[in-house]
Symmetry: C2
Subunit: 151 residues, 2 copies
């Protein structure tokens, strides 16, 4: 029954590939997230919010949901903590009063300006264990996988 065996080898390949994908992602994460926390008191999600606003300007919480790939209730919590630490400010959208616009404070801007270059160079250094061609090929395959699944 060849189909059966083929099914199994497909499963083994898929599973091994996915495990390697998960491990490599985790390995990078473990190198880049703790420094944010230890040196600047920022969690991964807090940093993601700061970075998004830094690059894109003020965003609503709904837009932040999409950028950082978290639920609405989670964004509320994360922004609460950032606001408490005076790194962002919430402001009601006057045109649609359901919406909360989140923007950087001066303090938040200063922090992200300091942290971002360090973060980027840490990632660059880690990824440089791969050749440029390997990085491009990894990017291509991941992109294909991601868009095929998530659209």
């Amino acid at each position: 029954m060849p189909t059966h065996y083929k099914g199994k080898t497909d499963e083994v390949l898929a599973l091994n590939t996915f495990i390697k994908l998960a491990r490599s992602f985790n390995a990078v994460q473990v190198q880049i997230i703790p420094p944010l926390q230890k040196d600047y008191g920022l969690t991964e999600s807090q940093f993601a919010v700061l970075e998004a606003i830094h690059h894109l300007g003020p965003l609503s919480q709904g837009q932040l949901c999409q950028k950082i790939l978290r639920s609405g209730s989670n964004v509320t919590t994360v922004v609460d903590n950032l606001e408490r630490d005076k790194l962002v400010r919430r402001e009601r959208d006057e045109a649609d009063r359901r919406v909360q616009i989140v923007q950087l404070t001066e303090r938040g801007r200063a922090l992200v300006t300091t942290v971002l270059p360090l973060h980027v160079s840490r990632i660059t250094s880690l990824m440089s264990t791969l050749t440029k061609d390997e990085q491009r090929e990894l990017g291509r395959i991941c992109r294909k996988l991601g868009t095929a699944i998530a659209g």
Copy 2:
């Protein structure tokens, strides 16, 4: 100042590659984790613990830490909840009474036996958006990245 520009293009490549890696991993996760929760009431970590014990036999909590890549205190919490749901049982190691050995109950074994094939075929189906060669190449590059960073 060519070095400066080279630094920047390296950073752009590394960052883009890492973002694609993160997104593709996330895209797969979003497809495979919610069904575990919705259909069987299992969180990702709970399933990871059950799967590890299923494959490897009874493990200490310290060994589980290494397998599921979480902190010791987290494993305590996850095993607490699994024990409450009667999916695993803790037993003191008589040879070293600091150690808690975690093993499947009948109920846990039955559950993992049901869930695992569905989980595997879901992953296989998602990864099959890539050719076998692409899966192998993705695995190879991820492995290189992961081992270079984590050892």
